[in-house]
Subunit: 178 residues, 2 copies
């Protein structure tokens, strides 16, 4: 299973593709690809900036054919509502790609992502970067943080699915034993 | 010149196509088409809802080949930020269509639209519907108000361009007279 995590932003959108596969020792999560999509400044206009994000992310989808597209859930309160509305424009384009390319959309609460990856629901950007570096044995801290955030989102989803798989296996084991 | 006005909403998105053309008596604004795009309820999922708006609006663009796509400017303060963020998702998809289909995007302040159409910057939905009915000699009040709002946005832009044309013509006249 390939999982695409996306952290949408009008200036920088992070993305990460992970694979969740079976091995002799159980399920393994691997980092396949991660990066960021940078748009030109506000002078380029929102239409061109959104098109850039759309087309670049569409290319990632075509290249890696993910079976899940994972983003953060919306909060109920944003510190900067105007920025959140603009982020909503990009998030809308990401959701649209899920619909138009047939990649099922999942959303995870930000605190759930942080807790899954670092153990703390209110981890800092740097703590996330460190844990991601550790999880995938990267030589250096994943930069920029938008890419690390996308990896964290995809990783939290992968861990959830891995656990679900393990639970299912344990249940089958119990059933077979009974 | 054909103008596409759009009033984005996750449940209902209004759209209107106007034409601005030359006639013996000067420039004339005509209503070509107006309607709404309704999405299924929240249970359909945001990806499918955004895809519906995208595909339906794309069809309108293909059919009428507008030379301008006009939406309302974002405010700085929304009464309901969560709703505004969801509206931002749809607005993002509308802006994306401007970029991907090459239809130049324009945005007008809501108060400017209301003032242009009704004479008052804080007109009610009903006042707008009445003025739109009058402007295009419609038999009944344009319903739902989302369609009337899209007509108002397109009309305000058309009036602005008509005036700009008139100013340009007057200046040419003055130059020719000088």
């Amino acid at each position: 299973m390939r999982i695409l995590g996306v952290d949408p932003g009008l200036r920088v959108t992070g993305y990460a593709v992970l694979s969740l596969s079976e091995s002799a020792g159980g399920e393994v999560i691997d980092l396949v690809e991660a990066g960021v999509i940078r748009t030109a400044g506000p002078e380029a206009g929102i239409a061109a900036r959104l098109r850039k994000v759309h087309d670049a992310l569409d290319e990632v989808i075509r290249e890696f054919s993910p079976q899940a597209l994972v983003i953060e859930k919306l909060y109920s309160h944003y510190k900067h509502p105007s920025t959140a509305i603009l982020m909503g424009h990009v998030r809308g384009v990401v959701c649209l790609l899920s619909g138009s390319r047939g990649v099922p959309l999942h959303s995870l609460a930000a605190t759930h992502v942080k807790k899954s990856v670092t153990g703390a629901g209110h981890a800092s950007k740097e703590q996330i970067q460190r844990m991601i570096q550790h999880a995938f044995s990267l030589k250096s801290l994943p930069e920029p943080c938008d890419a690390a955030d996308a990896m964290a989102i995809a990783l939290a989803f992968a861990m959830q699915n891995k656990n679900a798989g393990r639970r299912a296996a344990a249940e089958t084991g119990r059933r077979n034993a009974a």
